[in-house]
Amino acid sequence: MKKIEIEGLNLFYGDFQALLDIRMSVREKAITALIGSSGCGKSTLLRCLNRMNDLIEDVRIEGSVKIDGKDIYKIKSGLTQLRKKVGMVFQRPNPFPLSVYENVAFGLRVHHMAKGSELEDIVGESLKAVHLWDELKDRLNRSALGLSLEQKQRLCIARLIAVKSEVLLMDEPCSALDPLATLRIEDLMQLLKKDYTIVIVTHNMQQAARVSDETGFMLLGELVEFGRTPDIFTKPKDKRTEDYITGRFG
């Protein structure tokens, strides 16, 4: 099943073209990785999927991005429903300056999804889903800013689970974490894959090889090659992909 289909996507920052005619599709309930060196446009592409690029002034986008068959660039009403459905995890964990509980409850409150004991239940379930419940169940009212980086990143994922996001966009979610924490987050991604469609941007090639089902390699705004992860890493079709994964540049 295709969850996301991108066709003829061009993106310009002023006069600079950051994405060139991107064409790719993302499988439902699978992990799709985007790799490439810094500045290749992989984060920009990711941010096209929940329209976070709209926040930047002077940006122009052409082409279509369809999620569940609907072009998200033709939405007439607000973007809040889109961003609820397509959640995002950032490079630097960014819990709000609120308590652990309020962080998870945030999305539920802004979308008026639950109140009272129902709210409490969903917060609990969400924290369990990211394996934070046992660690934090006695500290729900403490500030989330005091957590470790790994806990913060898990909390940010729990925020998305609480609002029942269907797609999780992860922008280098482990680059601020140590190797062991990275592995634990990767394990979590494998669990989440059963229920969520995940797109991850990473410049750690091993990570892409470990966690993803499909991989796209980007270079200078172009999607050079896209395919099943084992194929990309063992028999790339494009010379540039081969050069990159064998470490000749990047």
Binding site: N50, F90, N94, F96, P97, F106, G107, R159, V163
Partner: protein, 292 residues
């Protein structure tokens, strides 16, 4: 050669050290001077009668040196000003930092700076010629020279401080919080009042405290529009006299060494202590907002 350089550096070090501690020395000297001149007021009145006395008749015989009407006058004018300036200032800061398009933002910021550059005597002048007659007519008062007029003038003066410091605090809230909230589908307004305000709160409180400090110590504009009647006020719409205006108005005519003269210095001590406490509170909150 090397010796000479070492000597030079030692001199420079000492000079920098002196400049560094100069502020401490000056504050200490000022306080000692105030204390020396002011403390003798206790020879003619008790501390309780000075701070709690209801009558300020410094040139009657014997003089009555109770500053309660002046303290209440200052408090009333300050509270009135703060009630106007704090909500307006914070709302303006949010507008400038988060809502205004960037061109308008720059224009607004320069006007806020210009507002802070207007000399207080000019504001007071405008107050006397425009605001005071307007209040008298509009509110049908016996005189427009009231605490309310002083509060309005002071609100103008506190706004730039409150706006620019609150705006700094709002801008200092990490971008990631905002992005996180927007990416969760929060609207701009929800992001502002559920996330950004929490991040900026200590800085905003500090801004309000510094605004209060600015208002409390202001003299000229208040003296010109509040009517300067040293009586205990019953409402905002009566003439009052503030601590600062009392010193400014009476220092010239008080005979050196008289109880009146000493009492004015004692008022200076009271002002000094209150301003110090206000600034200290502001500092505590500013530090807390930086540590985040």
């Amino acid at each position: 050669m090397a010796k000479l350089r070492k000597f030079k550096e030692a001199i420079i070090e000492k000079l920098i050290f002196l400049s560094g501690i100069a502020s401490i020395v000056f504050v200490a000297l000022i306080f000692i001077f105030l204390l020396r001149e002011g403390i003798s007021v206790l020879r003619s009145t008790s501390l309780g009668a000075f701070l709690g006395g209801k009558f300020w008749y410094p040139i009657s015989d014997p003089p009555k040196l109770g500053i309660l009407p002046l303290i209440l006058g200052s408090l009333l004018v300050t509270l009135g000003a703060i009630a106007m300036a704090v909500p307006l200032g914070i709302a303006a800061a949010f507008y400038i930092a988060e809502v205004a398009p960037s061109r308008l933002r720059n224009i607004l910021k320069s006007f806020v700076e210009i507002l802070s550059a207007i000399p207080s005597v000019v504001l007071g002048f405008l107050g006397i010629t425009i605001l005071v007659p307007f209040l008298k007519r509009f509110l049908d008062l016996p005189t427009g020279l009231t605490a309310f007029a002083g509060s309005i003038m002071l609100a103008f003066m506190a706004m730039p401080t409150i706006i620019s410091i609150s705006e700094d605090a709002i801008n200092a809230v990490p971008r990631e919080y905002k992005e996180g909230a927007i990416a969760l589908g929060a609207t701009h307004w929800q992001t502002l009042h559920r996330v950004i305000i929490h991040g900026a709160l200590p800085g905003i409180i500090a801004a309000a405290m510094l605004g209060i400090g600015r208002v409390f110590g202001e003299t000229m504009a208040v003296m010109m529009v509040t009517g300067n009647a040293a009586v205990i006020p019953n409402s905002l719409f009566e003439p009052v006299r503030t601590l600062t205006a009392t010193i400014a108005a009476e220092m010239g005519e008080a005979a050196k060494g008289s109880p009146h003269y000493n009492a004015l210095f004692a008022i200076g001590i009271v002002l000094f202590v209150i301003s110090f406490l206000i600034n200290l509170t502001a500092d505590l909150f500013l530090n807390r907002s930086r540590r985040r």
